[in-house]
């Protein structure tokens, strides 16, 4: 039986509740039911969350916390809370993928930040489309482990994903259940989830010990969406991964994958898919997903030009040309620009250390010229003045650079907001580092 998508359900609810002015958070939250299947996209706290094709069953729903941030947590203002959802997609009686969603409940005024995962150098791939003081967009690909041996450890983080995974893997254990459609933080397993476990048990479904994760962080001045898809490599033809004791020991660690052509091919496919899906995540943050067919699940062996089929900017340009709003020449010029933009990182390239260095150099040239005059005037001897100038150039340059760097980094007024060094992370499923 096909369940109504969340969008349909919420519109229905709004019509039925004639005149009732439900706030966005309450209306959407009440429409999300654990165990219910959704497709296409979800509406969560006034952001659209795209889902790849197929049915995704809501496994867990609750709240999250800001686990890590390189600024004070009070800096984010009144964001309400962080809503956290976990959805499961099954295929042929196996868990094919899990979607992990974090979004802010209320809009803020001063932006969010990127994820530390988008700043790492030990993942398969990271692509930052842009990053500024107040907006950012990136995606990354890595492996995530959820070995059952780790369940007791990661349980302590109160992580909904691991609780969901633990519940599925421990099929004979009695799972605590919470209110049927409630949002009590910490108690999100419902009778529906229990029945899903029952189905999983009868169908002998298991949770993989390793996932391949494609994660996105898109943020603007008001809102953010952190969306992570954990794909089961076993449903993609790879053998069951051996249990490991740490993330680095996994056979899917990037240092081990590089020697395996089949794994590398899979990751390349995920990279192309990830880039295509990235557009949908960005549009979703602005509620611009317009009911088009969902993007298929990650595909195998398709060429890079596949991206053109899903590029909404190209589609919009084509539409403009068809309507006669753009001439052929204008269309071609703009089309070339869109394709060129794909590979660009629109972040500012200059960081604070580079700014300090440039300023130190320009300052040094100017004041050294001034110093020649000062030193000659007071000393009256060229050689002695020359010695002093040499000392001033060397020692004062270093002094100026570090002074400038300190102001760039700690200078108070949004000096550090130029390029967004701000990072903020939540509690995530599995072990990703």
């Amino acid at each position: 039986m096909r369940f109504l998508s969340h969008i349909g359900a919420s519109v229905c609810g709004a019509l039925v509740a004639a005149g009732t002015m439900l706030g966005a958070v309450q209306a959407k939250a009440q429409d999300l039911k654990i165990g219910q299947a959704y497709s296409g996209m979800l509406d969560v706290a006034s952001k659209q969350i795209p889902l790849p094709a197929g049915e995704w069953r809501l496994a867990a729903l609750g709240t999250n916390s800001i686990a890590k941030a390189n600024v004070g947590k009070d800096e984010f203002g009144a964001f309400g809370t962080i809503l956290n959802l976990v959805l499961v997609r099954t295929e042929n009686n196996k868990i094919d993928a899990v979607a992990e969603v974090n979004v802010n409940a209320l809009p803020v005024n001063d932006g969010w930040g990127t994820s530390q995962d988008c700043e790492r150098d030990d993942l398969y791939a990271i692509f930052t489309r842009y990053k500024s003081g107040w907006d950012s967009s990136c995606f990354f690909i890595r492996h995530t482990i959820s070995s059952p041996e780790f369940m007791p450890m990661v349980e302590k983080t109160d992580n909904l994903f691991t609780r969901a995974a633990a519940a599925v893997s421990e099929l004979t254990k009695k799972i605590p259940v919470g209110p049927a459609a409630g949002l009590d933080a910490g108690k999100v397993f419902s009778a529906t989830w229990d029945s899903t476990l029952g189905q999983a048990k009868t169908q002998n479904m298991a949770v993989p010990s390793t996932w391949l994760t494609v994660g996105y962080r898109v943020a603007n001045r008001r809102d953010f969406v952190d969306l992570r898809f954990h794909f089961n490599p076993e449903t993609r033809g790879f053998p069951v991964a051996s249990k490991v004791t740490s993330w680095k020991d996994s056979p899917w660690h990037h240092t081990k994958v590089e020697a395996d052509p089949s794994k590398m091919a899979l990751i390349r496919d995920f990279s192309l898919w990830g880039a295509v899906f990235h557009d949908a995540v960005e549009r979703g943050v602005k509620n611009q997903l317009a009911g088009e067919a969902p993007i298929p699940m990650p595909w195998r062996n398709r060429p890079a030009s596949e991206r053109d089929k899903f590029d909404e900017r190209l589609a919009a340009l084509e539409s403009q040309r068809a309507k006669g709003k753009l001439s052929d020449a204008e269309y071609m010029a703009q089309r070339d620009r869109v394709i060129e933009d794909r590979e660009k990182d629109f972040s500012p390239k200059i960081d604070s250390t580079t700014v300090a260095l440039y300023k130190a150099l320009t300052y040094r040239v100017i004041v050294s010229t001034v110093n020649i005059g000062i030193d000659l005037y007071w000393i009256g001897e060229i050689f002695a003045a020359g010695q002093l100038i040499f000392l001033q150039v060397t020692i004062n340059s270093v002094k100026f650079y570090f002074h400038e760097l300190a102001w760039e980094k700690f200078g108070g007024y949004k000096a550090a907001r130029r390029d967004s060094p701000r990072e903020v992370d939540f509690v995530y499923g599995g072990i990703g580092a």
Partner: protein, 375 residues
């Protein structure tokens, strides 16, 4: 695979009438109310019925290269009172999203603006509003679409004033821009329509006009939040503002009330604790007035120069003494350095701030379309 919710979305539109009209569905003469959807952006409309008077394209008159943006859609909607034009909505929006942002409008910083405010402004997003007078006379260039508006008015026997009092909004982010300007006919508020009645001096000298402009200013401060929400497609049926009036000016910021309402819901659902609720309530209540992205470049440069000088001068004196072994000469050199280097430091730092603001941090980029009343 079509989502099963799509037909319900269509049903909602049918039942609600023309509340949510998409630009591609708009026709001249059509009635629109509440908001319209233009190229995946929502544009809020004040309450009442607005008739589409003209649809066309615009051009970027001044501004940096914004990349592939398609075209600029340009619409005019008219709200009439009997046989008089009460207000005109002039809307400009890009048709294809860009990647590197847009920019502000010079109207948001014009010296002769009746009022203006920059809500926020960075290298890649901005929101501001302004008030000014607009004269749609024959010697004003304006957008190409304007001629269709005058034809519409003639056909429908609507009288146009000699000048409007305009409240304009520019909201943009990295991908999209919405420039919406409401041109209000002062005659419908028993105010004169002559252009020279709406200069800053003329307003200052007339209590009734001053009150009217203050009402518009307060209305704009409230309305701006809806324009921003529209850029993110977050408008719903609640987000309809009345037309500017003394009553609407007295209403506290509806956006604020909505946020507080949502916070109440989160507490009621026990998703936040009472302590978290109180902390966040206090933060929201502070967000009353728009703030400008003032950078205080001069003050900062002076502070830096002082902090550097305090520490640096000691080092300078020591270096001079190491070479000269003379306290007097070292002091003379150091004193000269303090004076001259401080001037260089401040000037250099300010110019760097200006340079970096221009390229990255503060949004100095200005993008203009052909607007009604432009000379």
């Amino acid at each position: 695979m079509a989502r099963s919710g799509v037909w319900l979305g269509v049903l909602a539109v049918a039942m609600l009438g023309a509340s949510t009209a998409a630009a591609q569905d708009l026709k001249v003469g059509q009635t629109v109310a509440g908001k319209l959807v233009l190229n995946a952006k929502q544009v809020p409309l004040p309450e009442g019925e607005w008739k589409v008077a003209a649809i066309g394209y615009n051009r970027i008159v001044t501004g940096a290269d914004v990349g592939a943006f398609g075209t600029i859609d340009n619409l005019f909607l008219v709200r009439s009172k009997g046989e008089t034009v009460e207000a005109i909505a002039e809307i400009n929006a890009n048709t294809v999203p860009t990647m590197d942002g847009w920019g502000t409008t010079k109207d948001c910083t014009a010296e002769d603006a009746l009022f203006k405010a920059v809500v926020f402004k960075s290298g890649w997003d901005g929101s501001c509003f302004f008030g000014k007078r607009t004269e749609p006379g024959p010697d004003r260039k304006g957008p190409l679409t304007w001629s269709k508006v005058t034809q519409y008015a003639t056909t429908n026997k609507l009288a146009m004033p000699a000048a409007f009092v305009t409240v304009g909004f520019r909201t943009s982010d990295r991908r999209d821009v919405v420039d919406v300007r409401f041109h209000f006919n002062p005659e419908t508020r028993n105010q004169p329509t002559a252009a020279d009645a709406w200069t800053k001096d003329a307003i200052e000298g007339n209590a009734a006009r001053k009150t009217y402009v203050q009402e518009l200013n307060l209305w704009a401060a409230n309305y701006g939040g809806y324009v921003e929400k529209g850029l993110r497609n977050q408008l719903n049926g609640k987000h309809v503002m009345p037309m500017p009036s003394a009553a609407s000016a007295a209403v506290p910021r509806p956006e604020l009330e909505e946020l507080l309402g949502k916070l109440d819901q989160l507490r009621a659902m026990k998703l936040i604790t009472d302590e978290q609720y109180q902390q966040q309530k206090a933060i929201i209540e502070k967000q009353l007035a728009p703030t400008t992205a003032e950078t205080g470049a001069l003050d900062r440069s002076i502070q830096k120069a002082i902090s550097f000088r305090v520490f640096g001068s000691s080092v300078d004196w020591v270096l001079a003494y190491v070479v000269t072994f003379s306290s007097a000469v070292s002091t003379g050199i150091t004193a000269s350095i303090i004076v001259l280097h401080t001037i260089v430091h401040v000037l250099l730092d300010m110019n760097w701030e200006k340079y970096w603001r221009g390229t990255i941090r503060d949004g100095t980029r200005v993008i203009e379309f052909a607007n009604l009343g432009a000379k």
